[in-house]
């Protein structure tokens, strides 16, 4: 099947303006602005079954329809913070197929009546931001962004905003705080961003990959998109495959393939052909999946992965083989989460600190009571944190101890 998102793998130089244009680029946006009502665009996205690709899997069209039409102006924000250990798909889209992403942002903006959109990139994507700025300038020059587009009253500007090294800014309300020039600490919700978002105004926030789908949906129709994938999860997903596999990388697959297809088909199997042990399907914030035959034959869509006691999330699949101890993996994730906790809420700030202290103790001298204490601290954090990051920090701990007890001496 031809790629839908990683189309640059089929069409060389797709990141060149003329090449993108020649391959049908910008037609969907132009057509929408000239001939469609904003609500028609929302309905097309709704009917396509597209769900948010950042991790939560929330239906995109529904999110767009939540925008408060009594409060103006509206804003659109693209989440290009991409900081989950194991995730590296958005960077490829932005570098290799940037116009499709930008056209998606433009379509989203038109759909919700926004005249300004911000792309929030993690600070490390300094070069990507500079590259996108050039592509945005090309679109402005060609009359695809700016005032009174295509002879209508609709105007749109897209801006990039660089973060500066903080995982928490991938959390959507922390991201908004960061654009507003504050420390990236999550807001208490409700109100949700479609009611009160950026600069206190209704805001739609979607992941880069989500936006990249939109021009293709508008160009080929909602029914076409819905015909790809499974009943639960329509369309395609980019899987970032990493860890102990022969061919790590991004793989675009329709929902409905299996872990085995991804890891042994696309990924070429495990390094040195060793036995696979565990899968973390959503990066460092994953629950561990015991990689038995049942798991490997499980279908990759949101609902099916949940039957394994895990979430597909952003589909950052980290593969762990039998040379690796789950205790060591948990240790690594706790270093990460302790470092990245924003410090705003007590359960996460103190919890990640204590979990790291205890796992370090276990690393040097494993005692059964320390393993129990680690498990208890994680359990006590669950359901009590202000944002999902606190919850994420506990997933590897609890599922690691439950599902790989031998690695903790149990």
């Amino acid at each position: 099947m031809a790629h839908i998102l990683l189309r640059h793998r089929d069409i060389p130089n797709l990141n060149v303006f003329e090449v993108y244009k020649k391959n049908g680029g910008f037609e969907a946006f132009k057509n929408a602005v000239k001939t469609m009502k904003p609500e028609d665009v929302i309905n097309a996205v709704k009917n396509s079954g597209l769900r948010g690709r950042g991790g939560a899997g929330f239906p995109t069209g529904m999110k767009w329809s939540f925008m408060d039409n009594k409060s103006w102006p509206h804003y659109v924000v693209a989440n290009a913070d991409e900081s989950e250990p194991g995730t590296f798909k958005d960077r490829e889209i932005m570098e290799q197929n940037p116009f499709q992403f930008l056209e998606g942002v433009a379509l989203g903006s038109y759909a919700v009546g926004a005249h300004a959109a911000y792309i929030y990139l993690r600070g490390e994507f300094w070069q990507v931001a500079a590259f996108l700025d050039e592509r945005i300038a090309e679109m402005e020059k060609a009359g695809l962004l700016g005032d009174k587009l295509f002879g209508t009253e609709y105007s749109l500007r897209i801006h990039t905003h660089l973060g500066a090294g903080a995982y928490i800014c991938g959390e959507e309300t922390a991201l908004l705080e960061s654009i507003e020039g504050k420390r990236g600490q999550p807001r208490v919700r409700p109100p949700f961003p479609p009611a009160v978002g950026l600069f206190g105004k209704p805001t739609v926030i979607n992941n880069v990959e989500t936006f990249a789908n939109v021009p293709m949906i508008l160009a080929n129709g909602a029914d076409w998109y819905k015909s790809i994938g499974t009943a639960d999860s329509a369309g395609v997903k980019i899987f970032s495959l990493s860890g102990r596999v022969k061919k790590p990388g991004n793989y675009e697959l329709p929902f409905g393939k299996t872990f085995r297809d991804l890891i042994y088909g696309e990924g070429g199997g495990i390094l040195e052909d060793r036995p696979i042990k565990a899968i973390m399907p959503a990066g460092a914030s994953s629950s561990f999946i015991v990689a038995d035959d049942k798991a490997l034959d499980t279908v990759l869509d949101y609902a099916s992965v949940r039957t394994l006691g895990a979430d597909l999330g952003s589909a950052s699949v980290i593969v762990i083989d039998d040379t690796v101890s789950v205790e060591w993996v948990v240790n690594k994730t706790l270093h990460f989460f302790k470092h990245e906790s924003c410090g705003k809420c007590t359960p996460c700030r103190e919890g990640t600190y204590w979990m790291l202290n205890v796992i370090k103790r276990i690393e040097h001298n494993r005692q059964a009571e320390d393993v129990s204490m680690l498990y208890d601290v994680a359990k006590q954090m669950q359901g009590k944190c202000l944002c999902a990051l606190g919850e994420f920090a506990t997933m590897a701990v609890t599922t690691g101890i439950e599902r790989f007890p031998a690695d903790f001496g149990r």
């Binding site: 194991g86 993690r122 070069q127 660089l162 090294g165 960061s178 860890g243 790590p248």
Partner: protein, 168 residues
């Protein structure tokens, strides 16, 4: 020279991105601008940014403290920030970092005696399929180096040392 005098065009462009009543949004891009040249934000730049955006110096300092890519003191001209997070570590990043320490003769967090390279271990840089990898943060920006070996890294360090000397 003040930031506004030194980079008038850039400052104007940055401020134009945000609604005039929310100019505080410009603090992050202005801090990057302030790091150009020296690689860290000076006290006077902090004061200037605070005044320009009608916020307190403490608020500017809180931004510098919260985000890892802002620095308030001079260290090596080039910060070599090696990813040693889980996916990279599964592909040998810890060993790479340890060997790098040996080759550079410094520990993580230290700077080479000539002031060229500060070695840091950082959180995931979204290049998990290209480990071992690191980024170089310099006063001019950030550059990724992926699928690295110790030999190629040491060649890069030599090149940085040469360019650092020429820059003086």
């Amino acid at each position: 020279m003040s930031l506004m005098e030194k980079y008038p065009k850039e400052v104007k462009q940055i401020l134009a991105k945000y609604p005039p009543e929310f100019k505080r949004s410009a603090v992050m891009p202005l801090l990057y601008l302030a790091q150009r040249g020296e690689g860290y934000v000076t006290k006077s730049a902090m004061t200037e940014i605070a005044r320009a955006l009608d916020i307190t110096e403490t608020e500017v300092a809180s931004i510098i403290g919260f985000y890892t890519l802002y620095h308030d003191k001079k260290e090596g001209r080039y910060r070599m920030q090696v990813c040693a997070d889980l996916p990279c570590a599964l592909r040998g990043a810890d060993k790479f970092l340890a060997e790098l320490c040996g080759n550079l003769g410094i520990r993580v967090g230290e700077t080479t005696p000539d002031g060229t390279v500060t070695l840091e271990s950082v959180a995931c840089l979204a290049a998990c399929d290209k480990a071992p990898m690191f980024q170089i943060q310099s006063p001019d920006g950030i550059e990724y180096h992926e699928n690295m070996t110790i030999d190629r890294t040491m060649e890069l360090v030599e090149a940085l040392k040469r360019s650092g000397q020429e820059g003086r």
